[in-house]
Symmetry: C2
């Protein structure tokens, strides 16, 4: 019987809709005040830890870059003279990983956008790397620089998006050897939030590190002290690190920039079909990469990435936002905390449209990641189709779901004023609280006000055209693009960036290593 009639939306709401600003929560560094959910006991975590060290000792990792093998060798690792295989003593792994900082700040060009990673801080980054883009009006097509720019504009406009994962969609219309230059320049023009570079070879990551320095307008020495760029390094699971990724680890660590080591361990395909085994392999791969960063530069900022999910064993298709992935996300957090490392997880799903499946699989991902205390949530907004498409409507749907977590993170105040005995006395049994002083003093900010949800009655909603949530998300993303204002950029910085991109373009950009 728990139900209640709903009134027409008030004049207040209609007015807000008329003036047109999209309501949203303020920019804030989020902290997760709840204890993490820990599916495994201390003994079970120790068993995964030990299994992963045995993997590194007994099986080892294929390290495809000779320079990286040499770095490992000098630190004491065991090289196979006839292959790319490297085996690691557990002491080397444990002592190297222990040098990584438990907490660091990622600097943005606007200091107000600096972000702390570690402890219970939670930071949300855009989708990255989708080859396709879609919206309800234009359907699905290959990504372009124009599409990418629009995602950056949305990310800049929404306070709940804390940083950019480059690039939300691949600008396929830009030739690959120049893509990192043009795309990074566009990011710098459109937002003052922190951003990332792809680990796609030595020349590219060096270019983007230099562009991060120019964007911040700081000298080399200051960049070396202040992490201002991050990169995601995916191992080629199982147990392999390729040349572009290894250059990413080496050059980023060398400059004290952030490496997010994220093994791509899909259980049943690139990792054992058992979650315990997939997590042991994830841990082995993550520790091997993190150790390399610490050998290159002790104390370089790194993030332990967990991406363990499973495949659909009926079809071989990867699945995301599954119950297994939620558990793996929480256990990944336990492992990262064991090493006192910041932790990265993802908001992912396997849906082919920004529909109900996309929403519930994303919620499973978000709750798994945040109850697991992730510090960096990548693909937090816009991801669809297991990463093959970035959706404008999904970006808004995710922004709403993330804002709800921001509100959920607000600690409750329990004191005489909030316990409200005076209000209950004033209203009395059978009354209502709408007009109580206690209510009037608080009603404007008492509750989360949604970005996307429609709480009107069925009658009001259907009279207004029965616009479903995905269609409303379409309207909101268009409105945000319409209202978008670029942040100020120092003309000297813009000019230096432009000169750099011009010079590097004339040099032919960066071929793939």
């Amino acid at each position: 019987m728990e139900r209640a009639g709903r009134t027409q939306s008030s004049a207040r709401r209609r007015r807000s809709e008329a003036t047109g600003a999209i309501p949203q929560l303020p920019w804030r560094q989020l902290r997760n005040p709840y204890a993490p959910t820990e599916p495994l006991s201390g003994d079970q975590i120790a068993a995964i830890h030990n299994a992963s060290l045995r993997v590194l000792e007994e099986i080892g990792v294929n390290v495809l870059l000779p320079e990286a093998r040499e770095i490992y060798r000098q630190a004491g690792a065991d090289l196979d003279p006839n292959s790319t295989r490297v085996r690691f003593d557990r002491g080397l792994i444990e002592s190297s990983v222990a040098k990584a900082p438990p907490r660091f700040t990622l600097h943005a060009r606007n200091p107000a956008r600096n972000l702390i990673f570690g402890e219970n801080y939670a930071n949300f980054a855009t989708v990255a790397g989708a080859p396709n883009v879609s919206d309800l009006d234009g359907g699905r097509h290959s990504g372009t620089l124009a599409d990418m720019g629009n995602f950056i504009r949305l990310a800049h406009s929404l306070n709940i998006i804390h940083l950019i994962a480059c690039y939300p969609v691949e600008p396929i219309d830009i030739e690959p050897n120049l893509r990192h230059l043009k795309a990074t320049q566009l990011v710098a023009a459109l937002t003052d939030k922190a951003f990332s570079g792809y680990a796609l070879g030595r020349r590219r990551i060096l270019d983007v590190i230099e562009m991060a320095r120019i964007v911040r307008g700081i000298p080399d020495g200051q960049l070396d002290r202040e992490p201002s760029l991050y990169t995601v390094v995916n191992s080629n699971s199982p147990l392999q690190l390729d040349q572009p990724m290894l250059w990413g680890i080496i050059e980023m660590a060398c400059r004290n920039q952030v490496v997010v080591l994220t093994p791509f361990t899909l259980a049943g395909a690139m990792a054992p079909i058992t979650l315990a085994g997939a997590l042991a392999q994830q841990n082995a791969e993550a520790l091997a990469g993190i150790a390399l960063a610490q050998i290159v530069r002790p104390g370089a900022p790194v993030i332990y990435g967990g991406f363990t999910s499973n495949v659909d064993m009926r079809s071989g298709a990867p699945a995301f936002g599954t119950p297994e992935a939620a558990k793996a996300a929480q256990i990944g957090g336990q492992l990262a905390r064991r090493y006192r490392l910041p932790y990265r997880s993802s908001n992912v799903n396997a849906a082919n449209a920004p529909d109900v499946q996309a929403a519930y699989e994303s919620q499973m991902s978000i709750w798994g990641a945040l109850t697991g205390h992730c510090n960096l949530l990548v693909h937090a907004a816009g991801w669809l189709e297991g990463g093959l498409c970035a959706s404008f409507e999904k970006f808004i749907i995710d922004a709403e779901m993330l804002q709800m977590m921001q509100a959920y993170f607000e600690p409750l105040v329990v004191d005489d004023a909030t316990l409200g005995l005076a209000a209950m006395r004033e209203v009395g049994p059978g009354g209502h609280f709408f007009g109580a002083q206690h209510t009037l003093e608080r009603y404007e900010t008492a509750f989360y006000a949604p970005l996307l949800s429609d709480w009107r009655s069925f009658q009001a909603w259907s009279t207004d055209g029965s616009i479903d949530t995905t269609r409303r998300a379409n309207r909101i993303y268009r409105k945000l693009l319409q209202d978008y204002q670029p942040p100020p950029l120092d003309p000297a910085v813009a000019e230096e960036l432009d000169a750099f991109v011009r010079r590097r373009t004339e040099e032919g950009g960066a071929p793939m290593d």
Copy 2:
């Protein structure tokens, strides 16, 4: 860059679709293996507890039934001679509540469907009380007995639905004085799962208790020992208990049947706008009702219900699945555990269609309730529009989301076999696990297989008509109705039930008290 191509669904999957059985998880009593999320400290919970006892001592509750006031008075409560107000000494409340059992079994006519409440057991009940019903084909209309029957058929067919909340939709076509008779008879015919009765007056609840006895085919004395029916009692917040609800508490407790005391405390409307205040009021109302059940019959099974949500302060509309409600659900669990009582929460949302909003608001409700360790999740499947509509598609969407939680509750096995070192050794760096022995031994049952989610590639999905998730839910619910088989019912029981309903119908049924 984390993405991967997906193959066409396999012959295996196509075959399963052709033979047509809807895949689902097996029936199971669920246990939540994770530690509950506890937003408040012990001191804060004590503050809410103390505030609620002060409310009961200083403000009191309007008790609209003279017989109930007399029961309270004889137990030591303080009656106001000039009104319906009753005030309670904290000793009376605490000593009464302490008599309630921390755990009990609710009996179904099929003993395999018996359910334990308490500890970390989690049970999922259908939506209840919606006046309207909808599906994609027929749109939205007032509920009928035929619609209600179809929801019972779905609830019977889906293993993830553990019990019935009567009635998923109101059978408006049955006159009110006979409705409880016809509807309960239909429930008994269509399912062997446990069910409930509405606390809508003395005569009605007595009728349904008798029907629960007949359905189980047991004598009166055995019914008194074996809880076989439950009822939800909503207080008329703030601080009021009406006559029909009070009769429900008294008659159900008298027969040792289950009372689920659920204050309807919408913060800002029927409760203080502050969550701490709304929860203090929820606690006061719940304890007052639970104390009555324990005074009537010490040890009678009760469940502490939490339904605290908030209203949209812009329009006065109730909101569900909000960040505030998720916190309130978790804190409700903390309060219930303080009194060693089983706990009830809900899967609710305020969406007007079975769309993305319905999915993410429901997920917030489900995660709030289950991280709060609720033992009874009411409205677990089918609820829409803040309870004003029961949706057939939403029923299937919820079943999928609940099944995902069943799979999430499966504890991980960590041992030598699952850690998979031998498999990693066999596959080696750069290989894949599809053909490994370790995989072949486990692939059929390794992962959750969805009921509703479509994990095919975009190409396969769009070639097949781009059927979105809500439309797929429509197909599944129709297929389940088509395949439905009623459970066997002893003809003697059916005849006794029929005779009872015939006699009570001839007597005119039950008028509202």
